[in-house]
């Protein structure tokens, strides 16, 4: 009568914080399809198993996000992959997120395995598990998820009955630290690699693990650490030359998540070339979606998913060629179809962007966020953030005059060549914002400043730079806070300890893998969450693994061969070096839409040269 009461997980759900993280009560087209397939008794998913004949032709693929549900569900790329996989022949995909520590404890106490969200299948029954690697500080969660599924955490300990453990996403571009834990790493866009990878996994079913991995390693963009280490062979990053189509549908959660909206990508890549920005460098070149496609995509997704909000996604969205047109058309549609809200993830700090935002009714009430990143013009030139003082002035003026009264400003500290003057500049800009507000008789105006410690990232022009120590960052954070005399300005800085750990990982190599495993065995979980982070644990692990962290966070020799150099990113090391030198001579490099600076992608069909890449038909390939 009440089968749910026979569910061994029921008691666990009743004990954890936020059980909705695990309940998987979602809506999606494919969920409905799976339900009807189950009803047809062809696929007996409810029992966790398919009929053996069907099973042998199919690939059961579990997409894994090493953070909690509400974070993972908010990450669009992850949803995109699910959609992609489900549209491949003979592939059935499911998802799993990292259980929070309370759930982990309960699972271990009850000796229950971690199961997928939709079909509640234990992870070790899948053929492949694909982790999305977004944030270094979530790496310990990968080990938790494997371990809770009775899958050996190290690739070398796995055998033929274990699923293939695959990793992809920005994290894969610094493969050293994680390589012993993965069977396969993917460098590039999922759209380009997954179809081939999936068919290869299906075709090699029943073969020896080594043979299967060997077959996979032949696929462009695929790297098999157990074969590829130290062979000196370059592996190419593979990317789509034009935007893949808007997915036909998305999964709509019932539990509240961080970004709860239908998302359509405007473009990939970024034309700006800020020198600290890894996202910008590893996703070049810019590939834009056509305006009509964006509008159609939003309308269709809103209709199909029922979401009351649509988000336009990209790096630096205001740079989208058709941004004005898209927003205008969508606002009209939103009125016609019954209201839906539109949101833009980021605003550039200039009058144009604020004007755009002002034109969107729905964003008016919230606060407005800008990222000037550095406090002085000099330092902004060093990091190639092409925002002028006048831009800051005019965008603030405009924002306050248009009725916003809460402004958030993001900065970094510990940037290369930084002096005290640059830090004071942060306080000065915050104060200036408030003065502008007061001048406009805005008495309620509030400015909140958030300062992150700079982490030099691999594949950026700053990959050779020294990262500030924990002590330096704390002192700088305090200095900024101390200089602020204004009660309407709040100043916060990120935990220097977490920034430090992120920095070690960001330019890490295989020698860190042991430390990662030690720290995890010692209890490290969710290191990107302040409530679970513990630096002592990591220091113990580094000591035990005989790792000198300064080797990782310190300044790197210009002639050093990095452990990530074997990945052919499209962007050349030579370009990165040129940009590094320009940084030190405080020279600004214009963005791709103004002039091509020959980053290397011109060899790969980038024809941006000031025109934008929306004209995909011309892309050489």
């Amino acid at each position: 009568m009440y089968p749910e009461f026979k569910d061994p997980y029921w008691s666990l759900l009743a004990q954890v914080k936020r059980p909705s993280r695990y309940s998987g009560s979602e809506w999606a087209v494919n969920l409905k399809k799976a339900e009807s397939e189950r009803a047809n008794a062809d696929v007996k998913l409810s029992a966790g198993l398919l009929s053996s004949e069907r099973r042998s032709q199919m690939l059961l693929f579990c997409l894994a996000f090493p953070d909690v549900y509400e974070i993972g569900m908010s990450y669009y790329g992850f949803q995109l992959l699910e959609n992609l996989l489900n549209n491949l022949p003979n592939v059935l995909s499911d998802r799993v997120y990292c259980p929070w520590t309370d759930m982990e404890t309960l699972l271990r106490k009850s000796s229950l395995p971690l199961v997928s969200v939709e079909n509640k299948i234990p992870l070790n029954l899948f053929d492949a598990i694909g982790f999305t690697l977004q944030h270094e500080l979530s790496y310990t969660n990968i080990l938790t998820m494997l371990d809770l599924s009775c899958i050996p955490v190290r690739s070398s300990d796995r055998n033929s009955k274990d699923p293939l453990i695959i990793g992809g996403g920005v994290g894969a571009f610094v493969p050293g630290i994680i390589s012993p834990f993965f069977d396969i790493l993917c460098f590039g866009d999922g759209e380009e690699m997954l179809p081939e990878l999936c068919s290869c996994i299906i075709e090699t079913k029943g073969e020896k693990r080594e043979a299967r991995l060997d077959a996979c390693s032949k696929i462009p963009g695929v790297y098999v650490p157990s074969i590829g280490l130290n062979t000196g062979v370059k592996v190419k990053r593979v990317f789509s030359y034009c935007m893949p189509p808007v997915p036909d549908s998305l999964i709509v959660p019932s539990a509240s998540i961080v970004h709860d909206r239908a998302v359509v990508e405007l473009f990939r890549g970024c034309s700006r070339g800020c020198r600290f920005c890894q996202a910008g460098m590893v996703t070049r070149p810019v590939r834009e979606r056509k305006v009509e496609e964006v509008v159609e995509g939003v309308n269709s997704l809103i209709a199909k998913t029922g979401w009351e909000e649509a988000g336009l996604l990209s790096l630096a969205s205001c740079d989208y060629t058709g941004i004005k047109q898209v927003l205008e058309t969508l606002s009209e549609n939103a009125d016609k179809r019954g209201r839906f809200k539109i949101s833009l993830p980021s605003l550039r700090m200039d009058a144009f962007s604020v004007e755009l935002a002002a034109g969107m009714e729905s964003v008016k009430r919230g606060s407005l966020t800008f990222a000037p990143e550095a406090g002085t013009q000099r330092l902004r030139d060093v990091i190639n953030k092409g925002i002028k003082d006048e831009d800051i002035e005019s965008s603030l003026m405009f924002a306050f005059s248009k009725g916003w009264s809460r402004i958030k400003l993001y900065f970094m500290m510990g940037l290369p060549t930084e002096t005290e003057e640059d830090l004071e500049g942060i306080v000065e800009i915050a104060g200036r914002a408030l003065r502008i507000a007061r001048a406009q008789k805005n008495k309620r105006a509030e400015v909140s400043v958030s300062v992150a410690g700079f982490v030099p990232k691999a594949h950026t022009p700053f990959q050779w730079e020294r990262q500030n120590s924990i002590t330096e960052l704390r002192e700088k954070g305090r200095l900024i806070k101390g200089k602020n005399r204004n009660r309407s300005v709040t100043m916060n800085y990120h935990s220097p300890e977490q920034t430090f750990l992120e920095g070690v990982f960001a330019r890490g190599d295989i020698r860190l893998a042991d430390a990662l495993e030690f720290a995890w065995r010692d209890g490290a979980r969710f290191d990107n969450w302040t409530e679970t982070f513990d630096l002592d644990r990591w220091n113990r692990a580094f000591e035990r693994a005989q790792v000198d962290t300064l080797q990782y966070t310190g300044e790197r020799n210009l002639s050093e061969n990095f452990s990530w150099d074997f990945i052919d990113m499209g962007v050349t090391k030579d370009f990165l070096l040129r940009e590094r030198n320009s940084a030190h001579s405080e020279k600004y490099t214009p963005g791709c839409k103004t002039a091509c600076s020959g980053c290397g992608l011109q060899e790969h069909g980038c024809n941006l040269r000031g025109q934008g890449m929306e004209n995909n038909d011309n892309a050489a390939l």
């Binding site: 569910d7 009743a14 004990q15 309940s23 209709a303 979401w307």
Partner: protein, 201 residues
């Protein structure tokens, strides 16, 4: 502006979706049901009447709060629409609910009828212990609590069926007492079904 009372069920892990997100779950499903494809079949979009004020939302009224982890078979919700709701529209709405949710029935509520809480003052539950060996102590404690607070409480197969007046005592308070009485350690040792919320029978 017709007012309808709809009845939904919540089964399986969906029971752990908190009550507070139900309005969103319902409106999104209705939005999906209003998808243009349905218009081709002659279905009208389901459009809610919105509340006035700073952040307008669909006007809805729920029965007494359903705690997480409780199976619900027939939960009433009052909704206000801008047009009439047909059987086929209602079915499309139900088909578009997330996994674990289903809409079972609906009925139009005439103008001037009392509020949902007034016309549905009692809740009927089935309750048992998660393990058979604790059932006796749960039964004993529950009957004791029942004496002064419940309308009705009786054994029914493996469960105890009881009916409470929502304004007298909430389910949460009963479970707290069971914990105080040492009958159970917490919610996880109980299995509870809310069979219905409605009029006294």
């Amino acid at each position: 502006m017709p007012r309808y009372r709809i009845f939904y069920e919540k089964r399986g892990p969906a029971c752990f979706i908190p009550h507070i997100v139900l309005p969103t779950v319902l409106t999104r499903a209705a939005n999906r049901a209003s998808h243009s494809k349905n218009e081709d079949c002659g279905l009208m979009p389901i459009i809610f009447q919105m509340t006035e004020g700073f952040s307008p939302h669909a006007k809805m009224s729920f029965a007494s709060e359903l705690p997480v982890g409780v199976v619900a078979l027939m939960e009433p919700v009052d909704i206000w629409l801008t047009g009439n709701l047909s059987d086929s529209e209602f079915k499309a709405w139900s088909d578009n609910m997330p996994t674990g949710f289903k809409l079972n029935d609906f009925t139009e509520i005439p103008d001037g009828s009392p509020s949902l809480n007034k016309s549905c003052p009692v809740s009927e539950y089935l309750l048992k212990s998660s393990t058979a060996d604790r059932m006796d102590s749960v039964r004993e404690a529950l009957f004791k609590i029942a004496e002064n607070k419940f309308i009705d409480c009786r054994d029914e197969g493996e469960f105890i069926r009881f009916t409470v007046n929502n304004s007298v005592v909430a389910l949460g308070a009963i479970v707290r007492e069971l914990i105080t009485e040492n009958a159970v350690q917490g919610w996880h040792e109980l299995r509870i079904v809310r069979v219905r919320v409605g009029a006294q029978q």
